[in-house]
Every structure is written in C-alpha cells, then in structure tokens.
C-alpha cells in the first residue's frame, strides 16, 4: 500500500505546494531569523512558533499524501518533545559554549572554554573528578541495592498467597512518596538524639547514641539506604512482572526433572526477567546519575557525599554560572549516554544471541 502511495511525485523544491516541506522549512528558518533579529522577543517567539507550525503542517500534509503513517503518528510526540525538552536542551548546549552568568548582562563566545576549564582547571578539575567518583559510587551502590532488594522482594511476591494484593501495595508505597518528605523523615530516623535508628541501637547495646552520618561510610550508607528503600519497589514491579510471566508448567517440568533451585533460576526464571532487569537497570541508572535531592536533604553534600548533579545545582542555580553548569551537565550527559548505550548494546546482543 505504502509503495503505491509513495509514487506520488515529490514537488519541485521551489513549487509552493502544501506538501513541499523543504520549501516550508527554508522559508520558516528565514522568516524566523529575520523576526528574531528585528522584533522584540514576545513577537518573534510567536512568529517563530507560527513558522514551526507551518513547517510541521507541511510535514504532516506530505506524510499524509504519501501515507507515511509512521511520521504522522510520531509527529505530535516529537513536536511536544521538541518544544518542551529538546529545544531547551539545545539552548543550554549552546550556552555551554559561552561565558555567561544568568545574573549578568554580558555574554561572550568562548568555544570549548567552559569544558576546558572544568577538565583542566587546578581547582575545578579535582572537584569534578571527586564529584564524578562520588556520583559513580552512588550509582553503583544505589543501583545494586535497588536491584538486589527489588529482586528479592519480587521473589517474595512471585507466588500466589493470601493477602498478597494488600501486602504488595504496602511495599509499593515508598516510591509514591515525595522526596522532600522522605529526605526530611529519614534525617529524623537517622538523628542521633531523636531518631529511631539511634534509639533502637542504643536500646540494644545500652551504649551511646548512634551517630550514623558522621563519616563517609555512614553518610553514604544512609543516603543509599533511603534511596534504595524508595526505589526498590520500582525494580520489584518490573522483575515481578517478569516472574509472573514465566509459565507455571516450566516450573512443574523442572520439579519433575528434579532440577536444583539454582539451576531452575538460571535456566528458566532468569531468561524471562533478563530484559526487564536490563530496563530497570537502565532507568534507575539514569535516575541515579541525577541524584541530588536526597543528598541535599540528608547531608548537604557533607562527608564526601557531594554528587555531580548537586554540584550542577550549586553552580547553575546558587552561583548563577549558567554556562558552566550547562557544560558540566553535558559532560555528565556524555558519561550517561556512553553507559546507557553500553547497556543497550549488551541487551541487544544478548537478545539476538538467544
């Protein structure tokens, strides 16, 4: 069907047809450029917006006439994403090549200057590396903790048993909480004077109040615990979905075949949850790289818990060094992209292998 429709002649470059998206794009860019240069922001915004809409419309007409259903279906999502996400991202990418502080009126192009400064400056480079190692530590620890906890919880709930539905929702609750409440309440739980943790330990040992957050190990443990507690249910849900999708008869066959529990897990269960584990890993890793809220609420970055994302907030928000913050974020983004691509590559290779 598509092939027949696609034979409709494509209009010449300069032909003013409603489906000539190339011409529309050229005209759109030109008009927008003039508008941005000549008119105040409020007006040029709407003109540019209208041009984008025009180009989009010509795309749609073009796609419709030639039955590019894929393009048609995808276009609303791409439009929203472009306006609300990709455009601001490109903007800040652009900013990262300038010397710009949001509370100052000057702006100057410095190319890769910000990146160079971050990577080579005597003060900033060690800070960057320290924050990057901390972040990596948090990513590894929180993701492992979440995967393991989530996985074990999923095993617990994989079977049908009485009250399962009600117990499951209890375990799912932490991820529905607001981070602020979690952070504030965990700082209370960890508090040496008022906290439950200190109270319990004191009651058990009869000794001193327990100060969890006074060194790096304790502070990291505290943050990782809170984060893992909050997000393990996410992993659990994905793994559980995999577990319940394993046909029951395979386990029955394994029981008949007297397969050991470990082998059963490895050869029957695991293949069903591998993809989901990968997905959970992907999403949680992305989130873990952005970890800042809990750090701010629990330690303010003290005791060696400063993360790169919190550092970005400090630079870009508190200190208004917008372009430096953007550059730092793009360095972070680079790391995340490399890592996630690695994940996806591995996942795809495995999927193709089996």
């Amino acid at each position: 069907m598509n092939s027949i429709a696609a034979q409709r002649p494509i209009p010449a470059l300069m032909a003013p047809a409603p489906d000539n998206w190339k011409l529309a794009a050229i005209a759109g860019v030109a008009v927008s450029a003039v508008a941005i240069a000549a008119l105040p922001a409020a007006a040029s915004f709407w003109i540019t917006g209208a041009m984008v809409a025009m180009v989009a419309a010509s795309f749609v007409v073009n796609a419709y006439r030639r039955h590019y259903f894929g393009g048609l279906l995808v276009s609303p999502a791409i439009a929203v994403l472009f306006v609300m996400n990709i455009f601001p991202l490109l903007w800040s990418l652009g900013l990262s090549f300038f010397a710009y502080q949001s509370n100052q009126q000057t702006i100057r192009f410095i190319g890769l200057g910000n990146y160079q400064k971050l990577l080579t400056d005597n003060l900033k480079a060690p800070e960057l590396w320290a924050n990057l190692t901390n972040t990596a530590m948090f990513v590894v620890l929180t993701v492992i903790a979440q995967m393991v906890t989530g996985f074990l919880l999923a095993l617990l709930f994989a079977k049908q048993f009485p009250l399962r539905k009600y117990l499951l929702i209890l375990v799912l609750t932490p991820m529905m909480l607001s981070v602020v409440a979690v952070g504030v309440f965990f700082s209370y739980y960890y508090d040496p004077t008022f906290g439950i943790l200190s109270y319990v330990i004191k009651a058990m040992t009869g000794g001193e109040q327990f100060i969890l957050m006074s060194n790096k190990t304790g502070a990291v443990a505290g943050i990782v615990f809170a984060d893992a507690w909050m997000w393990s249910p996410f992993v659990m849900l994905l793994v559980l979905a995999g577990l319940v999708s394993v046909p029951k008869y395979l386990y029955e066959a394994a029981a008949i075949d007297r397969v050991s529990a470990w082998r059963k897990f490895l050869t029957i269960t695991f293949p069903y949850i591998r993809g989901l584990l990968m997905l959970a890993l992907l999403f949680r890793t992305i989130e873990a790289f952005k970890m800042a809220d809990l750090v701010i609420l629990l330690t303010k970055g003290g005791n060696g818990t400063m993360t790169i994302s919190y550092h970005v907030i400090r630079i870009a928000n508190e200190q208004n060094k917008t372009s430096e913050g953007a550059a730092l974020s793009y360095l972070l983004l680079f790391v995340v992209i490399v890592l996630t691509n690695l994940y996806l590559y591995l996942a795809n290779r495995r999927a193709k292998g089996s």
Binding site: N103, S187, T193, L212, M213, K300, E318, Q319, N320
Partner: protein
C-alpha cells in the same frame, strides 16, 4: 504593564464605580497599582501583609494592592533567583538576604533608590533612624557606601536562649559554684555578661546521660549544655564563626577595603585560626548531631524546644516557636540574653557578631508610579507606629525611636538584649561572588566541624580560594 494600560483594560469600569461610590468628591482619578512582592513564608512577612491589608491607606489616593507571593523558606532563593535571572520581571519588590544584594544589584535587578529618597526629606529622616549596622547591611551596596537599595523587613541578631528551670535551679547553681568557683548565669543580665569560658563550662557541666539527675529530676534521655549552629547548609556555620573571628581581632575578607584588602594572610591569620579553634573546641559539648555537619539553626532550635539543651545561640527570628507551647516543651521556662563575648585582657567582654534578618528591595523594571507607591509603603512600614505594632506582633525593629522606646522590651523576652546587641553587629560580604565564597567556606568549615581537617588547613584553603576568586574578579589587586 504600565498603569495606563491597566487603566485602559478593565480599570475603567472599576474606577468609575469607585468614583461613584465616593460620591465623585475625590477628583483625582484613583489609579490601580499592583505591587507584586516575593517574600519568604513566615510570620514577619505575613504580619506585613496583614498590616498592609488592614491598615494601609496610600497617601496618593490610588488603589494599591500588595500582591504577595509567599514562598516557603527552603525554596525562596531558588524561586526568586530563577525569576530574576530569567528576566521574567514578575515581581516589583522582594525580600532579599542582605548578602544577595551584590549579585542582584550587579545583575541589574535591584533598583537604587537614592533619587527617590533624596526627593523625599521625610523618608530621608526615616532612613537616618535606622541603626547603622542594619542600614549598612541592608541598604548599602557596596557595603557601607552611599548607594541605597533596601529597607529592613525583619532585622535579626543572634541571642542566647536559656532554660531558667535548669540554670536557676538551686542544686545546679550550688554544684556549678562548687565545681568552677563561679556563678552559673541565671538571669538575663548574667547571661548578657557571660563569656565563652563560662559558656564552655555550662556545656561541660550540663552534659548528662540518661538516668542522671538534672535540676532534681531523673533524665529519661541524654541532656546537653550548649549548642550553636554548625551546619553545612547555607550560612549555618559562618554566621557563628564570623563572630569568633571578629572577637579575636581577626577578620574575614573585608569588602570595604576593595581593592587593597587581601584574603590570604587575613582570613588565615594566626588569630583567625585561634578563633576557629575556639569555635571548634565547644562542639564536643553539643548534641551528637553536631558531628554530622547537619546541626543548622533549625536543628539546634529543635533540640532546644524539645528540652535537650540548657542554652542555645540562635536567631531571634526562630524565637516565637520557643515561646509557643504548641511547638515548644520549654515555652514557660525561658530566659534570653546577649550572646557570649570573649573576655579581653582588661576583663571586659569583646563582642562582635554577624547580623541576620532580611531587607526588602525594589526592582529596576518598576514603573515610576509603582516606585512611588512602593516608597510610600516603605515610609509607612518604617514609621514608628507601624514598627511598634510589628514588634508587638513578633517582629523586630531597627528604627531607633522604636527600639529605644521603653515599651519595646515588653514585647518579647529577648527584646531586652536587642538594643544593646545592635552596636556590635557586622555583616558578611555583599559582593556578587557571595555564593561562591560562602559555598566553599561552608564546605571547608564542615570538614573542620566533622573533624576531618584542622582549623589552620581549613582557613588556609579558604584564604587561597578567596584570594584566587577575588583576584580573578578584580576585587583584590
């Protein structure tokens, strides 16, 4: 959004109605003016808004609305900063921490108001009534220059909060006397006279374990003598450490001496190291949360309100909660005094502290009419009558005729320490680099507080960082 367009828009009908209602007697067309103001959400600003709505009558006869955006404290900076720096031009006025002045003045957001004040002798007189410490900290940028930007919204200083029932207890008094051959301060005056040495003894003396006796009662939980801020967040250690540094005769980087004032050699002077060591040496008498770097002004206040402390040094701004039985277990047992000082060789107390509180400011994009109305409001706000009401309702006043009024000390128990404290208040930097300076300094102080680094290294690191940063910024020659 000029007032004219407003008028054109929908105000025509409204003002027409107003004119009708007043019977057409007032000739001057009452214009509608909206002043949008960003403020932190807490009693001092709520009171201001309440007074405005209930009492304020613009002398111009215009219809002035104060449209206040109450923003919870923890997000206040983020929200205001994003609004200002994005060029949103949403607010006409804002409360600002005094230290933010530089960043936002240099960014072109806060309006210099000298011209308006100069044109208004009455206002000028009002400004002259403001205590110099607050005038310099809240109004001027650069610090102590003649450029005027802000006006006191809620002026604040540190005071000593103390538990009467504990420190005035006869047994404790006797035991303290026996142990240190010194009277345990009990009254406000005795607290005023306390030096750091006594403060330390109080800390040592009142460190009690669960099961020990305190003022004749068996404790069901550990108890501590003293606390002050030692947190990593925002300025929650610098504000106390600065006081120590000044009392020792050392200094922070002095922005009034730009461009000759140095950071290296000043910030890390031997006296400053001694001062910081003194500050650190008291931490061991404080509740264990001090070791985590999270004992900020709120945490020490909470410990005090929960009855875990004999004394706490904190801002007056947090005081209302201590007096309220709904939020405080010690509401009926309080006594307040000035913060301790350093006993000099001559036996006199050397006192210096970092002041707190917030001014409010006008924005550069305001219309003339908005500025005029805003300044009328400022004049009204700083008028003794309103300031007195404000103080009576739980605010503080930096206006001399108000805080010297004998009534003033009756408003709140800490007010007796107020007027006497004002003369020895200074403020930290106001330069645009404020946040960078503060963040690095707080990080370094945190390392010292959590015992990872000694005072000398800490101050050396701070000095080096400040020297580099300020040199690059052209503030140090």
């Amino acid at each position: 959004m000029t007032a004219i367009t407003k008028l054109k828009g929908f105000a025509t009908a409204a003002s027409f109605a107003t004119v009708l209602m007043v019977g057409g007697a007032t000739y001057a067309a009452a214009e509608e003016v909206v002043l949008r103001m960003a403020v932190p959400d807490w009693p001092p600003t709520r009171i201001m808004k309440k007074f405005f709505d209930e009492q304020y009558k613009p002398p111009s006869g215009n219809k002035v609305t104060l449209d206040v955006d109450f923003i919870p404290w923890p997000d206040f900076y983020t929200r205001v900063n994003a609004s200002l720096t994005s060029g949103e031009q949403k607010y006409n006025m804002s409360v600002s921490d005094s230290q933010w002045l530089g960043a936002f003045v240099e960014g072109g957001y806060f309006r210099k108001v000298n011209d308006i004040i100069d044109a208004d002798p009455a206002l000028k007189a009002t400004m002259a009534e403001i205590h110099p410490a607050f005038y310099n900290a809240y109004s001027t940028y650069p610090y102590t220059s003649s450029n005027i930007y802000g006006f006191p919204q809620f002026p604040d200083v540190l005071v000593t909060y103390a538990r009467k029932d504990v420190i005035c207890n006869d047994e404790e008094q006797a035991a303290f006397k026996a142990k240190y051959n010194e009277k345990l301060p009990c009254t406000g005056e005795e607290l005023d006279n306390m030096d750091w040495g006594t403060f330390q003894k109080v800390g040592e003396f009142f460190m009690r374990k669960k099961g020990d006796k305190l003022a004749g009662q068996v404790l069901d939980d550990d108890f501590y003598g003293i606390a002050y801020q030692a947190g990593k967040g925002y300025d929650f250690s610098s504000m106390q450490i600065n006081g120590f540094i000044w009392q020792y005769g050392a200094n922070i980087w002095d922005e009034t001496k730009i461009p000759d004032g140095q950071a290296e050699g000043v910030v890390n002077s031997p006296l400053a190291v001694k001062a910081l060591d003194h500050y650190l040496s008291l931490l061991k008498y404080m509740p264990p949360v001090a070791k985590t770097g999270t004992m900020d002004i709120f945490k020490s206040d909470e410990l005090f309100r929960e009855g875990k402390l004999a004394m706490n040094i904190d801002w007056i701004g947090l005081g209302e909660a201590s007096l309220d039985p709904k939020t405080s277990k010690v509401s009926d047992k309080l006594v307040f005094g000035m913060t301790p000082g350093l006993r000099g060789a001559d036996g006199k107390l050397i006192r210096w502290n970092n002041l707190g509180g917030q001014p409010f400011v006008l924005m550069t994009w305001n219309t003339d009419l908005q500025n005029k109305e805003a300044m009328d409001f400022v004049k009204w706000w700083l008028s003794p009558a309103i300031q007195n009401q404000f103080a009576a309702g739980g605010g503080q006043s930096a206006v001399k005729s108000v805080y010297t009024d004998p009534k003033y000390v009756t408003y709140r128990p800490w007010n007796r320490a107020w007027a006497a404290s004002l003369d020895w208040q200074k403020d930290v930097w106001h330069v645009p680099q404020f946040f960078e300076l503060l963040t690095q300094q707080q990080d370094q102080f945190d390392l010292a507080i959590t015992g990872k680094q000694d005072a000398k290294t800490t101050l050396d690191n701070i000095a080096k960082f400040q020297q580099d940063l300020l040199k690059n910024a052209g503030l140090i020659k």
